[in-house]
């Protein structure tokens, strides 16, 4: 892969773009989480990414993309708290620590995304259809993997996987929660999109924009 900027810088931009996307949607996320949860999802994601951005910037000077991202994930976790703090933090951290060296191809990224996904699934013990962020992440990772297997470069592979992620996110509207706080409310969560599935989609979309801009093939 051929890039103009250092991969650590691009990684930092990805984290920054994620923060911007969350801040833009903070009220919407708060609202989604208040229907059947405790309304703090927007604030928690913002808290996490604010701290993650600071750490990414510090790490970016000396480190690799992987180091930037894993540091950002650790810091996200520490600062955010809550279910999403643990899960998203773990996701970002595992992606970072599985991005070996500076070889950021769509295949290595796919490997990292799968490790991230596996860690979220094992930490949260949720499955597809449980109305969680997994409903965005699983289809995204699958679609990304197919593109990567077909040899699509990173930025395009990422773009090509977003529609699947969006469909996954939207599918949570019709689901009844069975994990996380809103699980208690069962039917009450019906009709409302899952906040975690929504925020993680915004993050994926923001990262896609940075990759499209900055990873010139």
């Amino acid at each position: 892969m051929d890039v103009m900027k250092s991969q650590a810088t691009i990684a930092t931009h990805c984290i920054e773009a994620a923060l911007a996307a969350i801040l833009e949607h903070e009220d919407e996320l708060a609202h989604l989480d208040s229907v059947a949860g405790d309304g703090d999802h927007g604030a928690g994601m913002a808290r996490g990414f604010r701290a993650a951005v600071e750490r990414a910037r510090t790490a970016s000077g000396s480190g690799t993309a992987g180091a930037v991202i894993s540091n950002a994930g650790t810091e996200f976790s520490r600062a955010a708290g809550g279910a999403s703090g643990a899960l998203v933090g773990m996701y970002v951290m595992m992606i970072g620590s599985n991005l070996s060296g500076d070889n950021m191809s769509s295949e290595t990224v796919h490997h990292a995304l799968r490790q991230g996904l596996a860690s979220v699934a094992s930490l949260g013990k949720a499955q597809l259809g449980d109305k969680t962020m997994l409903d965005t992440l699983i289809p995204f990772t699958r679609a990304f993997g197919e593109a990567a297997a077909a040899g699509t470069p990173l930025a395009q592979a990422w773009q090509s996987a977003l529609p699947a992620a969006r469909m996954g996110m939207e599918s949570t509207k019709d689901m009844i929660a069975s994990r996380g706080r809103s699980a208690v409310l069962k039917e009450r969560s019906l009709g409302t999109q899952d906040p975690g599935a929504t925020s993680i989609y915004y993050v994926l979309e923001a990262v896609g924009r940075v990759l499209a801009e900055e990873c010139k093939p």
Binding site: V35, D38, D40, A43, G81, G89, L123
Partner: protein
């Protein structure tokens, strides 16, 4: 709604700062972490009980740190579990070498974060046990799937008393589990709370209605009912709890009628005037009832009833003296 704040982002840090400044005679800030511990640091030869969870539930959790109660509390943001990292740091700061028992309410965020904290603390050689409190009968038919609400208080009291009298890690942990097994709560809500910096409540309750099975984090209830007079609320609360009483637990019980924030003491006493008759009619022998705010949800309107069925051990633990910012008994 929450009206006093400077900057919502700094709300938690300022609340810890204010709490530590106010109750510095009892507790101290844990350096470099979102938490407090007993003044002077962990006490030699005692198991440390570390409690915690999101903020917005005072006196849960920091108000229950002190002699005879928790050794420390780790404090998350409003309604957000503290992170695994914070829990890890606080574990190190309270362990006197005798091990640590975590006590917290059963929410998936807390379970994940406390488990991550435990994992890291264990890697550093700390001996850690967990008591995950699940008293809310409304939240699930399965006991260990249930949320923790105001019943936290009774379990913390048992854990703290056991730890402070010098019990071993296994014993403290076992009493905590036992206390949780014998604790049941059921709550109702009349109105939602508003978190700092927001202007809309997390949920609203239509006039003339109430929510059954409230969550302690501003989650709405699991079902909606017509608003009832006090005596009917009392009947319903007792019925729901007794339908789910622990097996062969006898008839002696601690009782906590807990206000969520805006449902005030006078109303709670009026409700209690019906509750105690109802409990007596059902053969419950009430021991040292409490009508107070021991687990709030900011300014949410509502209340919950908790029973902890006693045996001699649990009664002794409850009676043991304790002193904290929000609960002192001699």
């Amino acid at each position: 709604m929450t009206r006093i704040w400077n900057n919502p982002i700094e709300f938690k840090d300022q609340l810890i700062d204010g709490f530590v400044a106010a109750y510095g005679r009892i507790i101290e800030r844990i350096p470099d972490a979102s938490g407090v511990r007993v003044k002077g640091g962990p006490v030699a030869d005692k198991v440390a009980v570390l409690i915690g969870g999101g903020s917005g539930h005072y006196p849960l959790f920091c108000g229950l740190v002190g002699k005879g109660l928790a050794m420390g509390a780790v404090m998350g943001d409003i309604f957000a579990s503290p992170s695994g990292e914070e829990i890890y740091r606080c574990t190190k700061a309270v362990d006197a070498g005798k091990g640590v028992v975590y006590g917290y309410g059963n929410y998936s965020g807390d379970v994940m974060n406390f488990s991550m904290g435990e994992m890291r603390a264990k890697m550093d050689g700390h001996d850690v046990r967990q008591v995950v409190i699940s008293d809310d009968v409304a939240s699930s038919p399965e006991f260990d799937q249930r949320r923790g609400i105001a019943g936290d208080f009774f379990v913390f009291k048992a854990l703290g008393a056991s730890a402070w009298r010098g019990d071993s890690l296994d014993t403290v942990h076992a009493f905590g589990q036992h206390a949780n097994q014998r604790t049941r709560s059921f709550g109702v809500a009349f109105g939602g709370c508003t978190v700092p910096g927001r202007t809309e409540p997390l949920f609203t309750v239509d006039p003339g209605k109430m929510e059954l099975g409230l969550g302690l984090h501003g989650e709405p209830g699991v079902e909606t009912s017509e608003m009832l007079p006090g005596k009917d609320i009392a009947r319903m609360m007792v019925d729901r709890l007794l339908a789910d009483a622990p097996q062969a637990a006898g008839s002696r019980a601690l009782v906590l009628l807990n206000g969520l924030g805006s449902t005030k003491y006078e109303e709670l006493f009026v409700l209690y005037s019906d509750l105690y008759k109802r409990l007596a009619a059902e053969g419950i022998e009430v021991y040292k009832p409490i009508v107070d705010e021991l687990g709030t949800s900011l300014n949410m309107a509502g209340c919950s009833l908790t029973l902890m069925w006693l045996d001699d051990d649990l009664q002794t633990l409850f009676d043991a003296p304790s002193e904290s910012a929000a609960w002192t008994n001699m």
